[in-house]
Structures are given as C-alpha cells and as structure tokens.
Amino acid sequence: MSESIYDEIEIDDFTFDPVTHLLQYPCPCGDKFAIALEDLEDGEDIAVCPSCSLMVRVIFDEDDLEQFKEQLE
C-alpha cells in the first residue's frame, strides 16, 4: 500500500468545504485529492483523487479537526 502513496500533505494545506464536508488539495493531474472530515475523525488518513491513481497521506492531529468542525452548520 505505502508504495502507492504519492506524497504526504499537512492538513493546514487542504481547503475545507463546509457544505460537502470535503478537505481537498491539488493533484498533479489537475483534479483534487479529497477526503471527508468524517473519515479523518474515524482515523483514516488517505486522500484519493477521482481522476487518477495517486493518493496522499494527510498529516494531522485529532486537535487539528476542531477548526473544521466549527465551520459546520
């Protein structure tokens, strides 16, 4: 699995959309890596791109998620 991870990206570099609950970051293909806030809360840390096979690992602590939860509703 680890050999398919393209890179590691800090959570502060992602853009959060409070409507879709998605955190996104540019993929070198032109599309965006995405992972749902709920998936991060469940301990998942791999963001995937809908247009290619590349994946990135999101670097974060539990505490980092609070700033995004506050933006919901």
Binding site: I5, Y6, D7, P28, C29, G30, S51, S53, L54
Partner: protein, 356 residues
C-alpha cells in the same frame, strides 16, 4: 510555419484541441482563429486545468477551464474554452498557477486573474477572484522582467535581480515569515513583497509545490522553505545549464547530464540517458521531457494521463492494452522530420512546438 502539439490530461480542454479526452500521443492544438497567423510560440505555461501560449509578437492565447476567469478572456462566453482564444493586449511574459494566471505587460507591470484564495492574484487584501486581467498592487515605479507561478504563489524578478512574491507563504516559500499571534507563521501575502534572500542578485528561480529555489552567480543555489538552505551540487554538475522543478523534485541539467533530487514515487528522478546529446529539458507537475540533438523528444516520470506518451509495446488500438503509470526510463514521444523549437510541461500535459 509553426505548429504546437500536445498530449496528456485533458478533462477540462486544457490541451486546446477541441476535445476533453486524454491523449497518449501528440496532436495539433487548435485556435479559435487561424493557426497560421500567430508567429513563433515562445512559451507555454500550464496551470491546473488551463494553458497559456505566449507568441514572439506579444500575443497570448489561453485554453481550458475558465471556471474562475483564469483564461483572461471574457468569462461570460463560457466556463471553458476547448480551443485557444486570444487575451487582449501585448505581453512580454506569462505564467500559470493552479487556477489563475499572471501576465507582464510590455512596461513590466503585472496583471492577474482567476482564483487565488491565498493571495495568488496579488491585487489586494482578501481579494480572491478576478474575471479579467487586473493590475497587481505594485508600488509606483516597480517593474518586472520575468514572472513565474507555483501552485499557489507568484514570484516576479526585476531587471536588477530582485524578487517580489505574493500568495501562499506558510512554508517559507517567499522567505522566512513573521509569526502570528497564534504562534504560526504568516500564511498568505496579498500584495507583492520583496523576498529577503541570501543573494544580492538572483539569476534564476523555480518553485516546487512547497519550496522555492533561487540561483545566484557561480551556480550557487538556495532552497527557500521552513529554513533557508544551500543546495549541495552533485560533483557530476560542473556548470548548471538548466534548473527545472516538478511539484516535489528539482532537476539540474549540466550539458548532457541531468541530476535530480526529491520525490521518486513515480520515477520522477531521472535514471536514464538518451542515446544522443541533450538540447534542453522541461518539466511538468510530476513528469519531465528532454529534446535531443537528433530532434527526438523523450518523456519520463508519472505518465498516467498519456503525458509521457504510449508504451512501445502498446502499438495497437486495443484500449484494454494499458500504458504504465510510471515511466522510469525515457519514453520516445516525438520522432519526426519537422524541427522541434521548444518543449514544455504542465499538469500531466506535454507540449512540443515544431517548425514546418
């Protein structure tokens, strides 16, 4: 006459060939007006999903996604342009970031448009979007010679080798930043600021996704990141002829040798030598291109969208026959009689300019 050929990622018409299908072989791009009238193409700049072409006479054409006005043409026309359309005015340099563009006019004034949520447009505090080229907030009298964009930032150089930057800066990409009240470094610069660097005169500069490389005289190269570090040059590099960056690696060319440093998840660090001497290299987001003296163009690195061409064993039209994702060896993408005058790379796109 000149022709521009392209292949690779094309989901938003960024190849400008009228289609939104990815291509694993080079094909002519199209212009909304006649292709033969534009003169010599000087530069091709690729953004996330859009592309600019600068011609010798100062005309600029753009194609691809116009979702945020990043084509610099009238956004009322459409959300994308499947063929290259003209941007009004005459320009001396152009650059593309993720969802924006920056133009230098003939006086050296910078203009930008598109989306820049981290200050990439440089047109004022908190201004995130512009639908048409808008004057960057530069102090009176300051003019630029060259402009380049990273994914989320812009750097322009003055005639006397000084750099000014705007956009994302949290990682020190625009020099070491002051700490905010929360203890974190400042994250965005919304209007051009002078970069504080160890060099009095910057000859060349290139941006990776999270850092900036600057070069001074005598091939002295520094990396601007969370700290400023001198880049140790491999003994194979006698004189640096070219410096190019992918998003997560840097590549030095010294005549026929390319030495790469950085992320090698998909064969980005070149570990192959072509049969004939190199003329030049170019890089895209995670792939590279070289032109050789026998007029051949090869690609390497991450080629999932056809941007490194098709695999030599994939010669039939059987679509089940998949090309590899990674090209760790040089893969031939152009081998024809017409002289190649330039090569370029974008986000999983490859560009070859030929004279016919």
């Amino acid at each position: 006459m000149f022709l521009i050929l392209a292949c690779g990622s094309n989901g938003n018409f960024q190849l400008g060939n009228g289609s939104d299908e990815d291509l694993n072989y080079l094909q002519n791009v199209h212009f909304v007006d006649d292709v033969t009238i534009h003169g010599k193409p000087m530069k091709i700049a690729g953004g996330g999903n859009h592309t600019l072409i600068l011609f010798e006479d100062g005309q600029v054409y753009s194609a691809g996604s116009n979702e945020y006005g990043q084509l610099g043409i009238d956004p009322v026309i459409s959300k994308s342009s499947p063929r290259f359309a003209p941007i009004l005015g005459k320009w001396k340099d152009v650059a593309c970031g993720w969802e924006f563009l920056v133009l230098l006019d003939t006086e050296g004034i910078a203009w930008s448009c598109g989306l820049g949520t981290k200050g990439e447009l440089g047109i004022g505090d908190g201004i995130r979007q512009a639908n048409k080229p808008t004057k960057v907030s530069i102090p009176d009298g300051l003019t630029f010679e060259i402009v380049r964009c990273g994914v989320f930032l812009t750097i322009a150089r003055t005639l006397n080798g000084q750099l000014y930057g705007w956009g994302v800066c949290r990682k020190g990409q625009l020099g070491i930043q002051p700490k905010l009240s929360n203890g974190k470094p400042r994250a965005s610069i919304w209007s051009p600021e002078k970069l504080e660097t160890p060099l009095d005169y910057v000859t060349r500069f290139e941006m990776g996704r999270e850092c900036t490389y600057i070069e001074g005289k005598d091939n002295l190269v520094y990396q601007l990141g969370t700290e400023i570090t001198k880049v140790e040059m491999s003994p194979q590099i006698q004189h640096v002829d070219q410096i190019e960056t992918m998003w997560s690696s840097i590549h030095f060319r010294s005549s026929n040798t390319i030495v790469s440093q950085g992320n090698n998840s998909h064969g980005q660090l070149l570990n192959d030598t072509p049969e004939d001497p190199l003329v030049c290299m170019a890089t895209g987001s995670e792939h590279g291109l070289v032109l050789t003296q026998l007029n051949k163009v090869y690609a390497w690195g991450w080629g999932e969208h056809g941007n490194c061409g098709r695999h030599e064993n994939n010669n039939d039209d059987d679509s089940d026959n998949q090309d590899p994702v990674t090209y760790s060896k040089l893969n031939l993408i152009y081998d024809d009689i017409h002289k190649v005058i330039a090569i370029g790379g974008g986000c999983a796109t490859s560009w070859v300019v030929i004279e016919k």
